[in-house]
Symmetry: C2
Subunit: 246 residues, 2 copies
């Protein structure tokens, strides 16, 4: 097929069973997009996403590509898909990609944001996008723990599923900022294992609550034991912010 | 009854038939709050809101008060109601008010915000809170029109319903700002007629689109004819930001 089209996609994950197509449910982002693209091109479209996002997780800029012979210009593709997508999914960019570009295989990094609401005062507008803790966190201790988790490590302990492939990842940075009743955790790395960001967030929040010690992070990594790490932080607090390519 | 309690209330109006209780539907903000407060106090509670908001309109800080003999401290009231309210309504402040305080009669002013999305690129996170125009607006012309609408005028032309009482209002300011793909209109005044903000927004947007002229505003006011003004802007773009008291 003559064209390789890359899409940037935004979604509110609340109503969906995650990114990846599953059997014949149409409650996934991928299946909704493929349905609209297939209708547009007149033949079945297979989308390659940069990676899965769990049920309930949001994206500000997921990336996916597909091959097609359809000759509709990019702006027309964008207009078409946004007209037929549900209100909680949108395509924010459509561009011509190099023939060998692959949204997952070509990715060099990803950035995820995890938002915790620490204020005891609720915020109905933020609520669908935060973990509502309602209590303060010791951000200094969380930063100390984050520094010990940053770098190239075996993150098997922070992976929600036993996998045979390598569990070594380069976690380039964890930035923790506090403002407007929230503590926001930004994770950047070359790639993330299944549930990795949410287990990291859960563990760091437990440090912030004083339930575990920052100094224990190296032992957690070395132990490679999921059961010794923190809880899986709720999906709704997580958002895929950016996928980077060279 | 011995206490007069004032509440500050936040809501995403999307799912509701507006603020005001109507017969026996429980799809209004007032009826949802009254149900929870009545359960808490053990006797029927009647809330006095600062004013109605239309179906679909949001509030960052609606104010309402009620009289009660219940002796629960304010922080406990806040915790109780937020536990039982649906996720799209929250009480953000509970305070003891003076015996004669009345959320509507004591109000000295209100501030409303109307958000227009002008970027052709959709934003799924902003979408529930904006009028999606998808085209640019001439903000200079809108500001010129806004200046001609500001002040103490008879706003009968901008009222969605014939009323016998005075239609004179003091529209203290209209501020129009542009950022992040949006044009935001902030309206401040001593009070607003039924649909007034949305008709003002609809008219100003038509000026911004070049469909009508800023200079026509005085004639619109003088004509007192609703049919000569602009469209009723969609409810979802509107948010009650603040109610002021002396």
């Amino acid at each position: 097929m003559s064209r390789n089209i890359a899409l940037t996609i935004q979604y509110n994950g609340a109503r969906f069973d995650g990114w990846q197509r599953q059997g014949n449910t149409d409650r996934t982002i991928q299946s909704r997009l493929e349905a609209v693209l297939s209708r547009m091109t007149g033949s079945p479209v297979e989308l390659h996403g940069s990676g899965r996002t769990d049920a309930g997780v949001h994206a500000a800029a997921q990336v996916a590509n597909f091959h097609t012979d359809c000759n509709l210009p990019c702006p027309d593709i964008m207009r078409y898909v946004n007209q037929y997508l549900p209100r909680d999914i949108a395509v924010t960019e459509v561009r011509e990609a190099a023939p060998r570009f692959h949204a997952r295989l070509s990715a060099t990094g990803k950035r995820y944001r995890y938002r915790c609401r620490t204020s005891p005062v609720p915020d109905v507008f933020a609520r669908p996008f935060v973990w509502e803790l309602g209590v303060g966190l010791d951000v200094g201790e969380m930063r100390r723990a984050a520094a010990l988790l940053t770098g190239r490590h075996d993150f098997a302990a922070f992976c929600g599923r036993r996998i045979k492939k390598s569990t070594v990842r380069d976690l380039r940075s964890i930035e923790i900022t506090e403002s407007g009743g929230e503590v926001v955790l930004d994770f950047e790395g070359d790639g993330f294992l299944y549930h990795m960001v949410r287990i990291l967030a859960g563990t760091l929040v437990e440090v912030g609550l004083g339930e575990r010690c920052a100094d224990d992070m190296p032992a957690l990594l070395a132990g490679r034991d999921r059961s010794r790490c923190g809880v899986l932080a709720p999906a709704e607090g997580l958002c895929l912010m950016e996928v980077t390519y060279d």
